[in-house]
C-alpha cells in the first residue's frame, strides 16, 4: 500500500525529537482519532532554521512528519505558511487515499507552530 519513499521515511525518519526553547510549537490531532502530531520550529529572522517533530500515528503520519519538517527547513515563515498537504504528498510520491488526512495533519501542525511563533512575537 505504501511506496518505497514513504516506507523509507517511516523507517529512517528525519528530524525526530524536540527543540528546546523552540520559537513555535504546533500540536494537532487527538489520541482517539489515532493521530497526534507535534512540530517544533526554530526561527531566526523569519527563516525556519530547524524543525523537529514527535508523532503518535501510523506509518504515513510519521513519514509525512519527517517530510514536512524536512521541507520547511530553510523556508521563510511566509513560504512555510503556503506549504500545502498536497506538496507533502507529492514529495512522498503519493499516499493511499485513506492516508491523505495524515498529510493534512502535517500541514496543520506547521501552521499551528507558526501561529504560536507569531503570537509569541506579537
Amino acid at each position: 500500500m505504501y511506496n518505497e519513499k514513504v516506507m523509507d521515511a517511516f523507517k529512517n525518519p528525519k528530524n525526530v525529537g524536540e527543540i528546546e526553547n523552540a520559537d513555535g510549537v504546533g500540536l494537532v490531532g487527538n489520541e482517539s482519532c489515532g493521530d497526534i502530531m507535534q512540530i517544533f520550529l526554530k526561527i531566526e529572522n523569519d527563516i525556519i532554521i530547524d524543525a523537529k517533530f514527535k508523532t503518535f500515528g501510523c506509518a504515513a503520519a510519521i513519514a509525512t512528519s519527517s517530510t514536512a519538517t524536512e521541507m520547511v527547513k530553510g523556508m521563510t515563515v511566509k513560504e512555510a505558511l503556503e506549504l500545502t498537504n498536497k506538496k507533502v504528498v507529492e514529495t512522498l510520491g503519493g499516499l493511499p487515499a485513506q492516508k491523505i488526512h495524515c498529510s493534512v495533519l502535517a500541514e496543520e501542525a506547521i501552521k499551528k507552530a507558526i501561529e504560536d511563533y507569531q503570537s509569541k512575537k506579537a
Binding site: M7, P13, V16, L27, E31, S32, G34, F56, C58
Partner: protein, 393 residues
C-alpha cells in the same frame, strides 16, 4: 530476510497433504458434481465423502451440512436466511457486539428491512454476559447469534449456555465457528446450536470454501438461488477441489487437534510471558483462560498499531493490526471498544496469531524486534513524554 508469519487468524497456508489430495480434482476429476454422467458421479462422490467426514467430526448428519464459499457467506446465510424464514414469528435478533463484520454488517442491513437487532453485553475479556442476554430476550426473538471464539482477542464464548437461553425463549441459536472449527473440539449436539458457520482456510485448507451446519427442522431461506446444488438450498456449481481440500484439512485438523493445541498455545504462552516481562506499558487483551490457542493480542500504550505492524513487517514479521489506520477507517477495533479498552489504547493494538509451522526461535526473534520497535516508536511519540510526565512513568 527470513519471512515469519504470525497471522494465522487471517489465513493459513494449505497443508501439503491437503494440496496433494486436491490436485486431481482440477484436471482429472473435473466433473460438475451436478452432472449425471461418470465425470459428475466421480465429483459428487468426492463431495459426499468430504461432507460425511466433516459431518461425522462435528456430530451431525451429512444432510445437515451445506457447503458455501466460506465464513462470510455462511454467516450471511444463517442470519438472513433465518430472519426471512421466521419473520412471521418475530422480528427480533440478538447478536454479540464482537462479531465478525460478516455478521455486524448483515445485521445492520436487516435492521433496514425492519428487523430489530440488539447486542448482548460482553465483559472486559470479551465473555458474553448471560444475565444481560436473558434480560433482553423477548417472545419476538427469533435468533441469538454469537461467535464460538473471537477472531481478534481469542475469547471462547459459552455457546452451550447461550444456546440454552435462546431455546428457553423459543429462539434459534447460531454460532460462527470460523476461528474455532478444527482448533477446538466441536460437537454441535453438545453445543446445542441450530446453525454453525465454518471455514476451510483457517485450518490449513484452501480459501473460498466453508460450510453452514443447519440442524434438521430449522427453516432457512436461500440467499444464493440458482440450480439444485446443496439439496436446492444453495445454488452454484460446487467447488469440488475446494470441498475435497476442506474435508481433508478438517480431518487432519481434528486428528491433530491436541498436538496442535499444545504446541501452538505453548508458543503463544511463551510469547505472552516474554512480552509482559520485557515490554513496558502493554496490555494483553482478552482472557488468559478459555482463549484460542494461537491468539495473543496486545495494546501498546502511547503508540499506534499500524506503525508497529510496519516496523515488524520491515523485520520480516507479519502480524495484524486492529487499528483503524490499517483498515482504512478512522475507528479503532470494534471488539476492543466493546471490551471497554479506551480509544487511544485501542489504536495501539496488534494481534499475533501463531501456527503449527512456527518455531520458538521465530517467537523469540519477534519479541526482540517488537521490544525495539515499540521503544523506537515511543521515542517518536509526543504522548510518551506528555503522559509520561503527568503520570510519572
Amino acid at each position: 530476510m527470513k519471512k515469519i508469519y504470525f497471522d494465522h487468524a487471517a489465513t493459513t497456508p494449505v497443508d501439503k497433504r491437503v494440496f496433494e489430495k486436491m490436485v486431481p480434482y482440477f484436471t482429472e476429476i473435473f466433473g460438475n458434481a451436478n452432472s449425471q454422467h461418470a465425470f459428475g458421479r466421480e465429483a459428487v462422490s468426492a463431495v459426499d465423502e468430504a461432507r460425511d467426514t466433516i459431518a461425522k467430526l462435528i456430530n451431525c448428519k451429512p444432510s445437515e451440512l451445506y457447503f458455501t464459499s466460506g465464513g462470510t457467506e455462511s454467516d450471511n446465510w444463517a442470519l438472513r436466511g433465518v430472519a426471512n424464514a421466521y419473520k412471521n414469528k418475530g422480528n427480533h435478533i440478538i447478536i454479540s457486539p464482537i462479531e465478525h463484520a460478516a455478521m455486524l454488517v448483515t445485521a445492520k442491513a436487516l435492521e433496514k428491512q425492519g428487523f430489530k437487532v440488539d447486542y448482548m453485553k460482553v465483559d472486559e475479556y470479551g465473555f458474553v454476559d448471560l444475565e444481560h442476554l436473558k434480560s433482553i430476550m423477548t417472545d419476538k426473538t427469533i435468533l441469538v447469534g454469537c461467535m464460538l471464539a473471537n477472531n481478534e482477542v481469542g475469547t471462547i464464548e459459552p455457546i452451550a449456555e447461550i444456546a440454552k437461553i435462546a431455546h428457553e425463549y423459543g429462539a434459534l441459536c447460531f454460532t460462527d465457528a470460523v476461528q474455532a472449527a478444527g482448533v477446538l473440539k466441536i460437537d454441535v449436539k453438545e453445543l446445542g446450536v441450530d446453525l454453525m458457520s465454518m471455514s476451510s482456510h483457517k485450518i490449513y485448507g484452501p480459501k473460498g470454501v466453508g460450510a453452514l451446519y443447519i440442524r434438521n427442522g430449522v427453516k432457512v431461506d436461500s440467499i444464493i438461488t440458482g440450480g439444485h446444488q446443496e439439496r436446492t438450498k444453495r445454488g452454484g456449481t460446487t467447488n469440488v477441489a475446494g470441498v475435497v481440500g476442506f474435508g481433508e484439512a478438517f480431518k487432519i485438523a481434528v486428528s491433530e487437534i491436541d498436538k496442535n493445541f499444545e504446541y501452538v498455545s505453548g508458543l503463544r504462552d511463551h510469547f505472552i510471558e516474554r512480552v509482559l516481562k520485557e515490554v513496558p506499558y502493554v496490555k494483553l487483551n482478552g482472557p488468559r483462560e478459555n482463549r484460542l490457542p494461537a491468539n495473543a493480542d496486545f495494546s501498546f500504550k502511547y503508540i499506534e498499531g499500524e506503525s508497529i505492524l510496519f516496523s515488524l513487517d520491515l523485520a520480516g514479521i507479519s502480524v495484524s493490526s486492529g487499528s483503524a489506520c490499517s483498515s482504512g477507517s478512522l475507528e479503532p477495533s470494534h471488539v476492543l471498544l466493546a471490551l471497554g479498552v479506551p480509544e487511544g489504547l485501542a489504536h495501539g493494538s496488534i494481534r499475533f496469531s501463531f501456527g503449527k509451522h512456527n518455531t520458538i526461535e521465530e517467537v523469540d526473534y519477534a519479541v526482540d524486534v517488537l521490544r525495539d520497535s515499540v521503544k523506537r516508536l515511543r521515542e517518536m511519540s509526543p504522548l510518551f513524554k506528555i503522559q509520561g510526565d503527568i503520570k510519572n512513568v
